[in-house]
């Protein structure tokens, strides 16, 4: 936020304000839905909208939790407590943040605002971003669901854990080495220095929710379209080729944006692919997908996302291939 905020036009002068327009549109939708519904009855459209609404309402509770935790971190945690939790040396803080990810059993949507507020509180971006990458991938819920989806293959669970942790830590060190050259949105730096605790809490919630939720909706729209319109057997045609199989499942993990607690079941259904390719799907998915990339662009800025997203993708693919070759 800049110190000289653009002056808003006073709402009172306008005959019809934004609020009234939005309220009217919502009302019109509610009233007209009875006549509109039969027109929009095509099965592909209703399948798309089912998946779209499903992703949004599955993610929103996690986003709300993330936003509230982020507001707690921003407004309520004392400097002393924060400095005691996080190691002074960021190079050491990176692996610690990776391990701390085990403790947040949430989906990736919760991790984005939390990482944002950690950076806002002066935590090294490398540490916060390592947490962002690790939390959705290595928490107990993910470990359990992976074990259920791959019965009798405990090495799969281990490989997923190690490869995800490796990805998070390596990217964390990369962020550290880039230092100030990484264009993280300045907005995160100076936020509400002159506010009371209560104000700051409300403002953080408002700011974080509104900056992430619209991008979540975009991600959900794209992911629902891929889920509905791209038949999975298209993906299967390249299953036999090692390199192409790995790249295809990595790309597929990016575009379908499944939540990390259930993607193992989908991975298990790619029976035609090699185990390494399935592992790539499981390591890329929680670290980076279309929904996350979109939310990260909203929270940390587009220039940052343009560098961060490809680096995470490449690191995740290489880690998974390396670990898969070693363990599977």
């Amino acid at each position: 936020m800049s110190s000289t905020a653009p002056t808003r036009e006073p709402d009172v002068r306008r005959p019809i304000g934004q609020v009234e327009v939005v309220a009217l549109v919502i009302l019109a939708i509610l009233v007209s839905s009875r006549w509109l519904v039969p027109l929009l009855d095509h099965p592909s459209l209703s399948t798309w909208s089912t998946i779209f609404v499903a992703i949004v309402i599955q993610s929103t509770p996690f986003l709300v939790v993330g936003v509230i935790l982020s507001a707690v971190i921003s407004a309520l945690l004392s400097e002393r407590l924060l400095s005691r939790i996080i190691p002074k040396n960021p190079a050491l803080g990176v692996p610690v943040a990776g391990v701390a990810g085990v403790g947040l059993p949430g989906c990736e949507c919760a991790a984005v605002p939390i990482a944002g507020s950690l950076i806002r509180r002066g935590i090294a971006p490398a540490v916060a971003l390592t947490f962002l990458l690790a939390a959705p991938a290595v928490n107990p819920a993910v470990i359990v669901s992976t074990a259920v989806a791959f019965p009798g293959q405990p090495e799969f669970v281990l490989a997923r854990f190690i490869a995800s942790m490796l990805t998070a830590v390596l990217v964390g060190w990369w962020v550290l080495s880039r230092g100030a050259r990484l264009p993280i949105s300045k907005r995160l730096r100076d936020f509400g220095a002159d506010m009371s605790k209560r104000e700051k809490f409300v403002e953080t919630v408002r700011h974080d929710f509104l900056h992430a939720s619209g991008f979540l909706v975009i991600g959900a729209m794209l992911a629902a379209a891929v889920n509905t319109f791209v038949p999975r057997h298209v993906v299967d045609t390249v299953a036999g080729q090692a390199v192409l199989g790995v790249l295809t499942l990595a790309l597929f993990a990016f575009v379908v944006a499944l939540c990390s607690e259930s993607d193992a079941f989908v991975a298990a259904s790619f029976t035609a692919f090699s185990d390494t390719a399935k592992l790539v799907f499981l390591v890329v998915g929680p670290a980076m997908d279309v929904k996350l990339a979109s939310m990260e662009a909203g929270t940390f800025g587009v220039p940052f996302a343009r560098q961060f997203v490809p680096v995470v993708m490449v690191t995740a693919i290489l880690s998974a291939v390396g670990i898969g070759w070693w363990l599977l």
């Binding site: 934004q18 779209f52 907005r187 259930s262």
Partner: protein, 235 residues
């Protein structure tokens, strides 16, 4: 975007969540345990929206710090935040149904991988036993011997294929409808009901079908009863 508009968008999304949780419509999209998280986050969103609008009025001519600026959008909120109205709009206008034959038929031919059910149905005796579609498929892939000569009842919706066959079909979801996997059991010796019609099929397993895990197993039907869709359509 003005502060009250921001509040309205948040409250609308919150209200949609609360409504979905109350009407059991949420079961079309996510698993049953999500009811409380959805309800609570919906209530929280409405509450936060109210708090946001109120605190904006308190310091109306305050220090201007309620306008975070990020260089795009007005008043610091990105333009894409308008999309927040979309989930509610889609929910009310299209009222998306539970996933059905459209997706199942597009996904037909994929391997139907089934994990061993946590508890198996007791299949002793001559009476008709209701069995989950996924358990039926798992037993078939397990060699099919436990299903032989056992009359069973399968519940699911109807999907077709390009030939003249039809299937009693069930979807499973792990998290939300995005990760749905469809399971089909081919029904032999019975007339085709309409697509997406929910049916109870009684019959016996066709020995040797569906053991390879790629082709669906078959049931030789002795009776097909049309029923209404259950509240929980996913297994």
């Amino acid at each position: 975007m003005t502060r009250p508009t921001q509040g309205l968008l948040m409250a609308f999304l919150g209200a949609v969540l609360v409504r979905l949780a109350f009407t059991d419509d949420y079961l079309r999209y996510v698993t049953a345990w999500m009811k409380w998280p959805i309800l609570v986050s919906g209530v929280l969103l409405v509450g936060l929206a109210v708090g946001l609008v109120l605190s904006g009025h308190e310091k109306h001519d305050g220090h201007g710090h309620d306008d975070g600026d990020d260089g795009h959008g007005h008043g610091g909120i990105p333009l894409v935040t308008w999309l927040l109205v979309l989930p509610g709009l889609v929910t009310f206008v299209i009222s998306p149904p539970q996933l059905g034959s459209y997706l199942a038929e597009r996904r037909a031919g994929e391997a139907q991988t089934v994990a061993e059910p946590a508890s198996l149905t007791d299949l002793e005796g001559d009476e008709v036993v209701p069995v989950d579609v996924t358990e039926f498929i798992w037993r078939a892939q397990d060699g099919g011997t436990t299903l032989e000569d056992q009359p069973v009842e399968l519940t699911g919706f109807v999907s077709y294929d390009q030939q003249e066959n039809w299937y009693v079909t069930r979807m499973t979801i792990g998290c939300c409808a995005a990760d749905a996997i469809s399971y089909q059991v081919k029904v032999a010796d019975a007339d085709k009901p309409a697509r997406d019609q929910w049916v109870k099929v009684t019959g016996t397993y066709e020995t040797g079908s569906g053991t390879d895990g790629t082709n669906p197993p078959s049931i030789v039907a002795t009776g097909v009863e049309e029923i209404g869709a259950p509240t929980q359509t996913y297994e």
